[in-house]
Each structure stands twice: as structure tokens, then as C-alpha cells.
Symmetry: C2
Subunit: 197 residues, 2 copies
């Protein structure tokens, strides 16, 4: 898989060399809203899906990005590594996996991602609706959670299937564009091209 996905090797290497930086697993996810305008927010990398090049993100079903992705399933990640001065722009289609999904394998992946999260992360999905006006009384409420309990309704797994990757290294001033093609079996292959920074 790694030889077939050359940018994944670069990304894993960047993650490894920035591992001492807490925010190195944070990136910005751009979507398009139903009003046609772009939206952009910081999210956390939750790993590649098994042996694939698909990127996992956890989110709350009640956030605006879900509405955005239902309107337009395409997204671009911008991931800048502040120590190694590398940028990855990863463009692809996002699959929304919530509790109502009919695919058993996808529901298992959602469950795995839930249990892979810290208890503190899981508790966030039990808070009040994100993005709506705060009622001060409510925000002081304390939630408790059984560590063995499965994902709550609000928990949603997003899986981005990359089509295009733009890699920029500001230290070496090199830039590579990776484009994906698929054979008749749907298998991906990636073609790199050196482009001007």
C-alpha cells in the first residue's frame, strides 16, 4: 500500500518528525455550505482507516459541517506542520457515518473510532447542541459516561477518501502534486508530478 501511496509515506514521516508537537495532529477542514460559501475549522486526525489512504475524523452530528457535507460531500484538508514546514492539501469526498448507517462494517468502524477516543473526548458528545446560544446554567452540568458504553447518537465518523494531494515543503522549496486514477476494480494508483511552488 505504501509504495502505491507515495504521499502517505511523506505524511507519516511528517507526523513522526513532529510527534513532540501537540498540535501536529490538528488540521483545517474546508467545506462548502448550502449558501455556496466556504467554511473552515480545525479538526483532529484520527488515523488512516486500516491499511487504506482514507483519513478519519470524529465529529458531532449536530455541527454545521454535517449540513455542509450533505450539501456538498467534497472537502479539502489543509495540514501544516509547524516544525518541519511541510503542507499537505488533501482533497476528496467525505463519507458521513452516523448511528443510522445501514452498513454493518461502517457501524463497526464508527464504534472503533468511539472507543479509540479518550473518555474526555467522548463526554463532549453529551454536551448541549454545538453552535446554538449558550444557556449558562446548562454549561455547568456535569455528565458521566460508562467507559464500556458504545457511541452516543451525536457521535459521527467522517471518512475522507483522497483524490488529489498537494505537498509543499518550505524548507526545500519543493512542491509535488499527486493525482489519483482508478482501474476497473476501483483500485487507486497515484501519479506524482513536480510543480512550481
Amino acid at each position: 500500500m505504501n509504495t502505491a501511496t507515495p504521499w502517505k509515506q511523506l505524511l507519516l514521516h511528517a507526523l513522526e518528525s513532529n510527534t513532540h508537537v501537540k498540535h501536529s495532529s490538528f488540521f483545517q477542514l474546508a467545506t462548502v455550505g448550502a449558501n455556496g460559501k466556504p467554511a473552515n475549522r480545525t479538526v483532529v486526525f484520527r488515523g488512516f482507516q486500516e491499511e487504506t489512504d482514507k483519513i478519519q475524523i470524529n465529529t458531532d452530528c449536530r455541527t454545521e459541517k454535517i449540513e455542509d457535507l450533505k450539501y456538498c460531500p467534497f472537502s479539502e484538508i489543509c495540514w501544516y506542520f509547524t516544525d518541519s514546514w511541510e503542507q499537505f492539501r488533501i482533497n476528496g469526498r467525505i463519507d458521513i457515518i452516523d448511528g443510522s448507517n445501514s452498513d454493518t462494517i461502517k457501524l463497526q468502524q464508527r464504534e472503533q473510532s468511539w472507543f479509540a477516543s479518550s473518555l474526555k473526548s467522548r463526554l463532549q458528545y453529551m454536551g448541549p447542541d454545538p453552535g446554538i446560544p449558550s444557556i449558562t446554567e446548562e454549561s455547568s452540568e456535569v455528565f458521566s459516561l460508562d467507559p464500556l458504553a458504545g457511541p452516543v447518537n451525536a457521535f459521527c465518523l467522517l471518512v475522507l477518501d483522497p483524490d488529489q494531494v498537494d505537498y509543499l515543503n518550505l524548507k526545500t522549496n519543493t512542491r509535488l502534486a499527486y493525482r489519483c486514477s482508478r482501474n476497473l476494480n476501483g483500485q487507486k494508483s497515484w501519479t506524482p508530478e513536480r510543480i512550481n511552488p
Copy 2:
């Protein structure tokens, strides 16, 4: 101005408290391309325009973001401060100011932004077309630049006029939404609202 733009005070404070962090002036700019898909890349904050709340960005006219902005002038900045754990999402319309602009004041602003850039930054606008395949021979070419010479054709000033700002503080777990309204003279006023993180 500052009392009328409460989020600007927060942003200036964040910039000040993250001043030791080289990348604190970097943020991610999301646009929508003519294909309807989002795009996202890291750019550098070049200050507020004079005493306003408008955000300045320098870019190369030959980059894809210019095509995107001609198709859809709206953008969302996502600016995450890695030390203070604060995020600003700034949504607004972008004005593209290149050398062909007919407005003398805007041309002066473009010139000011050119001279405010380092010589090294300015030299980038003399390189080959960004984003197109590299010709290795060309990339070793050395350009020279008269420090007193005005902006080259490829240099473009972008000015984002904010309409909406979403502020999130991960240390205090507070989130504020700022919405802008304009009076008959076009003067902005901002209304903050506390929303659920």
C-alpha cells in the same frame, strides 16, 4: 474602532501572546472553486488595513485561489493559535487588488503591502508560474530585484472584509459568535453571542 470590533481586540491579544511562535501569523484560507469544490491553503497575515477590521493577504495573481475568488468572492479564514489554544473563523468577502485595478487608493494599498514585504518575499513573485509542472533547469535561475522597484505584475493584494467571526477558546471552553450589521452609511457594528462550543 476597537470597541466597535470586539473580536479584533481578542485577535490582537492572541497575536501578542503568541508572538514568540513563528507560525502564529499563518492561517488557512478556504475558497470555493469553479467546480464547486472547496480549496484550502496556508497564507500569511499581512496586518489589518489601516484602522479597519479588514484583513490583508499577499498572493501571486497566477495562483488558483485567484480563479476561485473570481468565481466566488467569499472565503473563510481558520486561524488556530497553537500556544493559547484559540481559534478564529473569519468569514467575509475578498477584494482582489492587482496592478490593473482602476482605484488609485487601492493601488496605493497594494504598493504599501509590496514595500512592507521582505525582499525575499518579493522575489517569489518573479519565479515561474506557481502550480504548473516544474522545469528543473528553470528552478535554479537566480532573480535580482531593485529594492526601490514597485510591485511586479504577479503581485496581488487580497483584502478580506469580515461579516462573521466565530471565536473558540479551548482552554476556557468558551465560544463566541460575532455577527455584523451595517447602518445606512455602511458602518459596521458587531453583536457578540455566547454559543455552545
